[in-house]
Amino acid sequence: MIKRWLMIFALLGPLPLRAAPKKEILRVAYFRPIFGHVHRNPSRYSSSLTTISCGHPIKVLKLVPAKGRPVTVFNKVWHFVKVGPYEGYIDGKYLKEKKPNCFQDRYPKYFDALELDLTELYYWGRLYDQYVFGKSRVK
């Protein structure tokens, strides 16, 4: 009997030591492209948790572990974010500090007239995952 209890304690004992890091809001940013996705994992090919449109406010999170320094960015590209009930990843180049001047806001009635359906919104977001961007500069 005592052995059984010892076994149970041995199994449950280490659990509280593995405390999950706390999530804190680092800042609020705005989504820049026409449409985009919050990804499940920090990869452009990762599945989409939700589709968001330009100007959507996004909470950029940081992880504060029980011990050690807080982690703000998982790598140099991807930001850990919270959008509504979803927590996922967005490419940092698509985030802006101030609300962007979105196409949808500049030409709202024209944009509405196109009557884009959900699939098209999804694909428009994927387009920004697939693009390779660049700009030549004066040296």
Binding site: Y110, L116, L127, Y131, V132, F133, G134
Partner: protein, 290 residues
């Protein structure tokens, strides 16, 4: 009898009272004129005029704001948006939503442009997983470029980063010459771009026609001989400053020519870009020396 007299008296006095009330009301209108000079001296008319002008201004601003919602994008905003719209509409045909290796084209094409002295050019490249389309520059906003390039085409030809950059650069020159925009522009479209459609509906038929024109140019018609000649000559002039690049361009055309003559998947290439063989002829220096 007495009662009758009483009723008549009451009715009479009531009508007199009403008449008096009307007169006083009329009097108030009339009296306003009489006190006009007083109001003027107190600057009340001036104040009223200012208020009226302020109100008119507010109404005008509200009207303009409301009308502004019905603006169609102007030239500086229209083309990139519409090209993306076309890409979204044709996502299943073009098969661009797929996993692929990182070809690092952003860096290689950037360096290529900078080497040739083409600065401040913003570009976006979309790789497609179909041989139906090989490479193309879609219409875009000023100083912006939207490129499509086919991964099967790159793989079949085993193109290097530099060769891909040469293809994209050729497309860039076509875009700069505005061949695509000219081919798809119609009077209907000019009526839409940058105009206001307040009180009307957006002519979706115009956009549908534009979509069809995009399909036509990209999948069937492509460019004509004169346009190809102009582009090849321009490439010749630019690349002659770096003979290594010029040679590479020539060899790449040879590769493409061999492919389109041997692979049935790419037989349409000559129809879109007539033709690698002719381009080589145009590039080849004349043998006779005078």
């Amino acid at each position: 009898m007495k009662k009758m007299i009483m009723i008549l008296f009451i009715l009479g006095s009531a009508s007199f009272l009403f008449a008096e009330d009307k007169d006083t009301k009329k009097g108030s209108h009339l009296n306003f004129d009489s006190i006009k000079s007083v109001l003027k001296n107190d600057f009340l008319t001036e104040e009223a005029r200012k208020n009226r002008a302020g109100e008119l201004e507010k109404n005008e601003a509200a009207r303009k704001k409301k009308e502004g919602l019905y603006n169609a994008p102007d030239r500086s905003d229209f083309w990139t948006f519409f090209s993306e719209y076309w890409l979204v509409k044709n996502a299943t045909i073009l098969k661009w939503d797929f996993e692929k290796p990182d070809y690092a084209l952003d860096d290689s094409f950037k360096y290529f442009l900078e080497k040739l002295g083409f600065y401040e050019k913003r570009f976006r490249i979309l790789m497609v997983n179909t041989p139906n389309i090989t490479h193309f520059a879609l219409p875009a906003n000023p100083n912006e470029y939207v490129f499509i390039i086919s991964v099967p085409f790159i793989r079949t030809l085993d193109l290097t980063k530099l060769e891909i950059s040469l293809l994209l650069f050729e497309d860039m020159l076509r875009a700069d010459n505005g061949y695509f925009v000219k081919a798809v522009s119609t009077d209907e479209l000019r009526e839409l771009i940058g105009k206001n459609f307040y009180g009307k509906k957006v002519n979706l038929k115009t956009l549908k026609n534009l979509e069809k024109k995009y399909d036509e140019i990209i999948f069937d018609k492509g460019f004509n001989f004169q346009q190809q000649f102009a582009i090849t000559k321009k490439m010749d002039h630019i690349l002659k400053t770096d003979l290594q690049l010029w040679n590479l361009y020539y060899k790449m055309l040879q590769k493409v020519d061999d492919l389109v003559k041997s692979n049935v998947l790419y037989t349409k290439y000559n129809q879109i870009y007539p033709s690698p063989e002719l381009q080589m002829n145009w590039l080849r220096p004349k043998k006779t020396i005078r």
